[in-house]
């Protein structure tokens, strides 16, 4: 079965002469087409967990299976989106979108047409030949989505993708992501510290504690789909949001136990 299976993953980093335990014995499964958010205080290891799934960091112990195959490194089956869109500034929007097929060597005569179609879907028709610097923040993020979608990833990994956007643009991008997910139903693991964003977008919210990072609770979000931003005004939504927030607040971690290397833990 497709999906992500994280089993008993632990990870420590050497930091300032001491060993900082970032993740301890974390297990979580994300089903095919499921949208799961990881929330928790800063330093709870949620980004490290995402990067382990992405293949950029190797776990000290435990395993990560994607489609039953162990993760050994980065791959185009797992698209990655960062807080900054990370478009290549020397390429036009279209060429950014075509980067994946060219890098993979899967460029065929139909690829360009498919990229143009995808750029239309993300609302960038007419901007194909613009450079990233000529786009607004929200447009850059939509271009980054188009670029990631071009290689047909089964899983999208997102690390606070809208964290740097202003409130209005962020709302627009959340709606954009909801619509895109309804169309494609890819598997998503989203790291965020925005509880409202997690509840709005996810099927399940996984709450993590800090020092070391551990999974404390997984809260299902049974709100009806397709969702729009209006759902955030319903009492169900507010109740779920409160539940998640309380879980985050009650999770171990935070100022009381700040150790020497905690605040500056690199990932």
């Amino acid at each position: 079965m497709a999906g992500v299976h994280v089993r008993n993953v632990s990870k420590s980093f050497a930091h300032g002469g001491s060993i900082v335990e970032i993740l301890r014995n974390v297990s979580i499964s994300v089903g095919e087409g499921e949208f799961v958010s990881l929330v928790g205080r800063s330093g709870c290891g949620k980004t490290t967990l995402l990067r382990i799934i992405g293949g950029f960091v190797h776990a000290d112990a435990g395993s990560v299976l994607v489609d039953e195959a162990p993760v050994r490194g980065p791959g185009s089956d797992r698209g990655m989106l960062f807080q900054q869109p990370m478009l290549f500034p020397w390429l036009t929007v279209l060429d950014n979108t075509l980067f994946g097929p060219r890098a993979e060597g899967s460029f065929t005569p139909g690829t360009r047409a498919r990229a143009l179609e995808l750029l239309g879907i993300v609302g960038l028709a007419g901007f194909e030949f613009h450079y990233p610097k000529q786009l607004s923040g929200g447009m850059m993020h939509r271009a980054a989505f188009a670029r990631a979608m071009m290689v047909d990833p089964e899983i999208l990994l997102m690390d606070e993708p809208f964290g740097a956007l202003d409130a209005l643009t962020r709302t627009g991008m959340q709606q954009f992501l909801l619509d895109l997910w309804e169309r494609r139903r890819f598997t998503v693991v989203l790291v965020t510290h925005d509880v409202e964003e997690a509840v709005l977008l996810s099927d399940r919210v996984a709450v993590m504690a800090s020092q070391p990072g551990e999974l404390v609770e997984t809260i299902p979000i049974p709100l009806p789909r397709p969702r729009t931003y209006e759902v955030s005004e319903s009492t169900d939504f507010v109740d779920l949001k409160r539940r998640v927030r309380q879980a985050v607040e009650h999770a171990r971690g935070g100022a009381a136990i700040v150790g020497a290397g905690r605040a500056a833990a690199p990932y």
């Binding site: 992405g54 490194g73 990655m80 960062f82 990370m86 020397w90 030949f129 450079y131 610097k133």
Partner: protein, 305 residues
């Protein structure tokens, strides 16, 4: 909006080192203005490079040059001594006259001497840049090498290349070799420092994005890390080109019988001040052209950059 941008472009100096921070998000408010619809991606970079030339800025720059010439001319009128300060007109006359005619004391034209200096610069610049880029790239990739070479560069960088001229003459004589070696020695540390800085400045997320788009480590290295560092490397080339001129003129004044540095020195021996100025103007003109070429290349490498 448009005029504001232009004003800003005028006041902000082009080509400083901070230009290679690609992660800086551009203002969300700037609307796409000039390049709204372009049907073809081919050659668009070149067109952008030419379109991006800011003609009002060039105009303002010319006004500055004009002011200098007028000031020079007025000063020459007041002083009215052709040896201390010849007028721009007299200088231009000498410059144009000897551009293609050999100067009596020696059998070379100004154009020929310019070509001589240019050839030395290009040869020295080429080997220095090549070594500097390779060394910088290796240092960026191999941490031990960086730890070994960094102190050497830091030791050597404050030394003016000119301090080596006597040594190079002892080693290589007074032919072309010591001059080309000297220029390269000036170029290497600048290129090492800027190549290392440019490669280091490439955000790791670029590489990770490329890898998760299916790029192999090798493809990500060549098409992303190296490519992203290119504008910074070209900026380094511009700085190195400036140093090359300093080196060549100095070495031509000390140990040469040709080249613009030699012409200037000779002219001062004979008190032909118009020829001194002619040499200076030629150096400025050729240096400006070379820098303009590098700036154009940088524009191509960093569209909208």
């Amino acid at each position: 909006m448009e005029t504001q941008q232009k004003k800003f472009a005028m006041t902000g100096p082009e080509g400083t080192l901070d230009e290679r921070s690609p992660a800086a998000p551009s203002g969300a408010s700037s609307p796409p203005s000039r390049h709204a619809v372009r049907p073809d991606t081919r050659h668009s970079a070149l067109r952008d490079g030419l379109l991006a030339l800011d003609w009002s800025r060039i105009g303002m720059g010319l006004i500055g040059v004009l002011c200098i010439i007028v000031g020079w001319w007025l000063a020459a009128l007041v002083i009215s001594d052709n040896v201390i300060l010849p007028s721009p007109v007299a200088t231009a006359r000498t410059l144009l006259h000897y551009l293609t005619r050999p100067y009596p004391a020696r059998g070379e034209t100004l154009l020929g001497d310019t070509a001589m200096s240019l050839a030395r610069i290009l040869a020295g610049f080429a080997w220095g840049a090549l070594v500097g880029v390779i060394l910088g790239a290796l240092m960026s990739a191999l941490r031990p090498l960086r730890l070994i070479v960094d102190p050497l560069i830091e030791l050597g960088r404050p030394l003016p290349p000119l301090a080596f001229i006597p040594l190079l003459i002892v080693w290589f004589g007074i032919g072309e070799l010591p001059k080309i070696v000297l220029i390269g020695l000036g170029v290497i540390p600048i290129m090492v420092v800027s190549v290392v800085a440019a490669l280091d400045a490439v955000p790791e997320e670029y590489i990770e994005a490329a890898r998760s788009l299916g790029a192999s480590p090798r493809y990500a290295l060549l098409h992303v890390r190296v490519r992203a560092a290119l504008p910074g490397v070209i900026t380094g080339l511009r700085l190195a080109m400036g140093i090359s001129w300093t080196s060549i003129v100095a070495v031509e004044m000390i140990a040469a019988t040709s080249g613009l540095g030699y012409v200037i020195l000779e002219a001062s021996n004979y008190l032909v001040t118009t020829l001194i100025f002619s040499g200076i103007v030629l150096i400025a003109a050729v240096a400006l052209i070379l820098d303009g070429l590098l700036r154009l290349v940088r524009r191509l490498a960093a569209p909208m950059g």
